[in-house]
Symmetry: C2
Subunit: 220 residues, 2 copies
DNA sequence: CGGCAGTTTGATCCCGGTCAAAATATGTGG
DNA sequence: CCACATATTTTGACCGGGATCAAACTGCCG
């Protein structure tokens, strides 16, 4: 099963890339790198989920993005940035591969498919960020939260008997940081939704039981 | 004066790029390309300002970005997208160069500096979008509008005797679409600011008289 | 001068933030 | 296994920023 960044490469090429990687593990809640730190490495997420977070001058946090297993992250080198633009936190226990930033250009020029595939995933993220901006400008809190949950289950949902479960621990606070609201509002909404059988949630755990009705709430 | 995308190239290389361009002019308010249309060309903005707009299913518009003269835009090919992710509208009369999308890869591989310079400006835009998301999540309307005006004057401000003037026609409605508010709120705020000598505005025209106090309003 | 596009201003309403406190899990050490 | 400390969630009461509704006003262009 080839990972997206390598899908266009043959075995010896992949081997040559992997040989130069070192592997690192992070506990849930640990930060992989900090906003503003020198971008000395880029990473491939083998297992777990990464939360990409920005912090305002006064300490408020906003979650920009969640990255599912299989994708590259910390790819500041692709933008010729010498510093990470956001903080990466392990949302669950996480396993990564990791290369020195200096290898980026080499990979891009040596392995044609590598560049095109990764620039494609960057494109996807740009589109996603655009959608976030659009949502934040036009949608109400209820719709934003509905969509945020849907994004999470689409990206890293696990089927269970009750519905689709978000595969990493996530608190009301986390959801509020994804949607620009407060944990109180999120809690109220989830309670209401639970009453109607839309979702089922325990502590740090959210299961979407009726994705279709959530889509409707999120606005066609 | 070399344009950013060409700053690392020598004369004959630039010539070779320009020779393959065709030049196009657009009237103010005209759309250069539409969201969702096949991305058959990419552009260099020689003169004027481009407004990048997304439209919601129900017709509301959100301005994602303004692009000042000298930058590339419509660079969907850089992301391997076959369709434009947003609409580009001429905010003023606009002159562009334009190449078929098929040339992108050729330029990137033939002219090393071209790729690195453009990926750098993409990086800048990603950072800017991130900041937008952060603002939208944490700042109040007043702060967002203050910052939006500051961004505009930094990027395309012209010094006048009264202050710094935004160099293209811009309405209250436009500002509201940049900040996710209503033209009413923008109007009220601008009126209040005008009373305090912060700005001076005529129809479709905004002059920032006291940038420093605006910065303060926008939050350190 | 009529008409449209843009702006201003007032009145009202409500979503969702803030403040406050209690209830429920989880973990920890004795 | 229990008691206590801590993290997360729930719920209620209240309030205010900014949207919405409505209407008048002001250039500006043909």
């Amino acid at each position: 099963m080839p990972l997206p960044p390598f899908s266009k490469l043959d075995r010896p090429q992949i081997r040559s890339i992997l040989d130069r990687a070192i592997s690192r593990r992070f506990d849930a809640g640990t930060t992989v790198f900090d906003e503003g730190a020198p971008a000395c490495s880029f990473y491939l997420l083998l297992d777990g989920t990464i939360r990409v977070v920005k912090t305002t001058p006064d300490g408020e946090q906003v979650t920009a993005l969640h990255i599912p297993a299989g994708q590259l992250f910390g790819i500041a080198p692709a933008f010729r940035r010498d510093t990470y633009p956001a903080t990466a936190i392990a949302a669950s226990e996480v396993v990564t591969l990791c290369w020195p930033a200096s290898l980026w250009d080499q990979f891009v020029s040596d392995f044609p498919g590598f560049g095109s595939e990764t620039y494609k995933t960057i494109g996807d993220r740009v589109v996603e960020m655009n959608n976030r901006i659009l949502e934040m400008s036009t949608q109400h809190v209820e719709q934003r939260i509905a969509r945020a949950l849907l994004r999470l289950v689409n990206q890293s949902g696990k089927k269970t008997t009750e519905g689709i479960e978000i595969s990493f621990p996530i608190t009301r606070q986390d959801v509020s940081e994804m949607t620009g609201t407060t944990l109180h509002t999120v809690s109220r909404l989830l309670s209401a939704w639970e009453k109607n059988g839309l979702v089922s949630s325990k502590r740090k755990k959210i299961i979407v039981c009726d994705p279709h009705r959530l889509v409707v709430l999120g606005g066609a």
